[in-house]
Amino acid sequence: MDVTFRIRRYNPEHPTNKKPYWQEFTLKDVAETDRVLEMLHRIKWEQDGTLSFRRSCSSGICGSDAMRINGRNALACKLLIRDVGTKIQVEPILGLPVIKDLIVDMEPFFAQYRAIMPYLVNNDPLPDDGRERLQSPEDRIIYDDTTNCILCACCTTSCPSYWANGQYVGPAAIVQAHRFIFDSRDQAAEERLNVLADPNGVWRCRTIYNCTPACPRGIEVTRAIGEVKLAIRKGSPQGIIDPKNVKVHH
């Protein structure tokens, strides 16, 4: 079958056309099971080498190819033609400055990530026996969901609160904070909760819920944000998540 792509183009280096514009491409012999990313490659490799986008693993784990496809954020490598139909509109994710075509400046996003201290803090001496710190399977499972995050920015750039205010730390940074706040080995929950209690922290979240369906990893983003809000109210992450209620993805 034939499919038509309508792609948002932008190249400030272009000799004549320095403003963003839409361009259409038609591809022939497309199968239902072809990936959107493969089709973008076909356009680039067969029709127009100037089309620019990021990609790497093409199997949904590296997080490079977050795009707005038919109005929804997704990884181009995880969507098949049968998921998106034969008329496909592709534009860069919203809320971050566009550098060229589908490539946005990720620096603000990573700065927000770094702001929540995204690393384990534990100042206790290491176990005397030279072995691992112990953690029960129950303590391990309560932060399992948020360890799935690949920092693709699908959630953050689907959030209307983030579009309205780029100073908002955003869903992805909160997900990453959650991963440490609820890790029994970590000792910096209080500092992270303080960062997130800031006016540009979790309270900018209005539970609009765009983030959860946008996550290509199936993380329950809104729920994680809710758990962090609860921890801030209680002043502690203790007892908020019941390991028996943690959903295992099916």
Binding site: N11, P12, E13, H14, T33, H41, K44, W45, E46, D48, G49, T50, S52, F53, R54, R55, S56, C57, S58, S59, G60, I61, C62, G63, S64, K78, L80, I99, K100, I103, M106, F110, R114, P118, Y119, L120, N122, G130, R131, E132, R133, L134, Q135, S136, P137, R140, Y143, D144, T147, N148, I150, L151, F180, D183, R185, D186, G218, V248, H249, H250
Partner: protein, 607 residues
């Protein structure tokens, strides 16, 4: 052009690069990590099933057993001194990863959980052992995330989306690298005392591959163009279970949990090829078995794939048959193989809980690469001569711990063990070494090459050349090889390389994020490595590990317990003229473990 100066410059921000950055920085060095991708995009993140170490958390295990499996799995080509280091350091390195925060799955006692994996056994091959430490089936993702987190904590300097295109040599030393800042197109020179390449592999040489689009062998090709030989390139691993048609990897952990391979008659054919450990035999053995089944017309519907079945009823039937008490259910599979379920449902529309998965061998991992010693220092000849200031670790390097075939989980072990040692070695080196000056105009040559590509006005698109190279290599330098086919691959790749120089055209002539240009440059790296791989495969007239010659079907220990070193006679950053290669077969395999214990001597490899 900007020039930067750092004690240690690390090229690549996957597991090996970040591990090196962390340990070099802990050792007091001022470190820069230069990577064409954001660190979290690196391909380490795609590693699934686990990382092997003899922690013995669930049953007795010893590093020497891990070493034995690695040597045997590598079909006796691995350097045994390096394997000993790998197996012993693995325990320390994995405990350190846990201390850094890596969320390993846990045993009921709260220790790191471990599972079975192909080729890993206890007591010198007696039975499968639980050695693979795991974090669901996203272990590589968790290693990458954890190391990046720790590098942020340690204030490592990151140059993200800076694409390294040349290594700078002067006075017999490596003195830095040249990189393109992708966002602006500007060239940067990084002047260093020590430079480590951790740029991963080159699976994009082949048509069906599990590897990322960005896995184009840049680091290996760059140093190869500057006089460093490549070691054992003919040993390239095809993973047996790539998703049919796409090559996306389905982890060996599926078989570790009890999944089985079936042909069109529903026969568990690995019982015939590896009677003892069956579907957990090492990867080369299974990939060949699948090819032979397909050749016999036993592929599914007579096509070129077989089934991988992890449905609980199938697994439980074989567990019962084997007299094991363990049983699994759908919830267990869903929890432990979440990535697998997602991949199969997304890409194949197959639900592994109710249907078997269609699989075929997929180009996966380079056992060979930039030769190093156990401290990740690059060695440039058969006499182990070190090139001062140059280091390599991870898949782009060849220590050689994987020999002729890598065991599952050992890629992650390799990158943490040798990334760590490389980082420490760089810090030590930087403490007492001075900066060797940069040569005049250090970026000139590669700048000329990039301008040639940018302004090329021939008729052939890079994508066309790449597709042809991938098909030729798949057909003739894949799981099975023979002289005529390999020679035809060499001739074809040489011809493609000629067109690359004389008839290329690209569309994008700009500076800003010119992915058209950088993909063309990467293709040059792939072509060099493809031809050098085929040449190495032609020379080795025996079958060993992943290198299966149909015209030389036996392993030949009398003549071939040596590494293949291939040298590039032309030196320079430009792709110019035909690739002239020279082979040196004087580097003998290190047999130090065998000298103490005869179980490490080469013998017939049965599973």
């Amino acid at each position: 052009m900007q020039t930067h100066q750092f004690d240690a410059v690390i090229v690549g921000a996957g597991g090996a690069g970040l591990m090196a950055a962390l340990y070099a920085s802990r050792g007091g060095a001022n470190v820069a990590v230069v990577s064409k991708l954001y660190p979290t995009r690196s391909h380490t993140g795609a590693a699934l099933g686990g990382i092997g170490a003899a922690l013995g958390n669930l049953e007795e295990d010893k590093p020497i057993w891990h070493a034995y499996d690695t040597v045997k799995g590598g079909d006796y080509l691995a350097d045994q001194d390096a394997v000993k280091v790998l197996a012993e350091d693995a325990v320390r390195a994995i405990i350190e990863l846990e201390h850094m925060g890596l969320p390993f799955d846990r045993t009921p006692e709260g220790r790191i959980s471990q599972r079975r994996f192909g080729g890993h056994t206890s007591n010198f091959g007696q039975k499968a052992v639980r050695r693979a430490c795991h974090s669901a089936d996203r272990t590589g993702h968790m290693i990458l995330q954890t190391l990046y987190q720790q590098c942020i904590k340690a204030n490592v300097n990151f140059f993200d989306e800076y694409h390294v295109v040349d290594v700078i040599m002067n006075q017999g030393h490596a003195v830095g690298v040249v990189a393109v800042q992708l966002g602006t197109g500007e060239l940067h020179v990084f002047h260093s005392k020590a430079t480590l390449f951790a740029t991963g592999g080159w699976g994009r040489v082949w048509r069906i591959t599990s590897n990322a689009h960005s896995y184009t062998g840049d680091g290996a090709a760059i140093v190869f163009r500057r006089g460093v030989p490549m070691e054992d390139l003919e040993f390239y691993q095809f993973h047996p279970t790539g998703l049919y048609g796409l090559g996306v990897l389905l982890t060996e952990g599926i078989r570790g949990e009890g999944g089985v391979l079936l042909n069109r008659y529903g026969e568990r054919f690995m019982e015939r090829y590896a009677p003892r450990i069956k579907d957990l035999a090492s990867r080369d053995v299974i990939s060949r078995a699948i090819y032979l089944e397909i050749r016999d017309g036993k592929g599914i519907q007579g096509k070129d794939y077989v089934h991988l079945d992890v449905r609980p009823e199938t697994v439980n039937r074989y567990l019962a048959e084997a007299g094991e008490d363990r049983r699994i259910d759908a919830a267990y599979v869903a929890k432990n193989l979440a990535e697998t379920l997602d991949v199969c449902r997304t890409y194949a529309g197959v639900d592994p809980l109710t249907e078997p998965m269609p699989v075929q061998p997929t180009a996966h991992y380079a056992m060979g690469g930039i030769p190093t010693n156990v401290n990740a220092e690059v060695v440039i000849d058969a006499n182990w001569t070190v090139l001062p200031g140059l280091y390599a670790a991870g898949e782009c390097a060849c220590a050689s711990v994987h020999g002729a075939n890598r065991l599952g989980t050992n890629s992650l072990v390799d990158l943490v063990v040798f990334g760590r040692r490389g980082g420490m070695a760089m810090a030590d080196y930087a403490k007492h070494a001075d900066f060797v000056p940069l040569p005049p105009n250090p970026a000139g040559e590669v700048a000329a090459e990039l301008e040639r590509l940018r302004s090329s006005r021939g008729k052939t698109r890079p994508g066309d050349l790449r597709r042809q190279m991938q098909q030729v290599m798949m057909d003739h330098v894949g799981v099975f090889r023979e002289e005529k086919g390999i020679q035809s691959a060499i001739d074809s790749v040489a011809e493609l390389r000629e067109r690359y120089q004389n008839d290329l055209v690209i569309d994008d002539r700009g500076q800003r994020f010119n992915t058209d240009l950088m993909e063309a440059w990467e293709l040059g790296c792939l072509l060099d490595l493809a031809q050098a791989t085929a040449q190495s495969a032609l020379v080795r007239t025996e079958s060993r590990g992943a290198h299966s010659r149909e015209d030389y079907q036996q392993r030949d220990d009398a003549n071939w317990l040596v590494h293949t070193l291939v040298f590039n006679k032309h030196q320079g950053a430009q792709v110019k003229g035909p690739l002239e290669l020279e082979i040196d077969l004087n580097k003998k395999v290190n047999m130090s473990l065998a000298e103490e214990d005869e179980r490490f001597l080469p013998r017939e490899r049965v599973y």
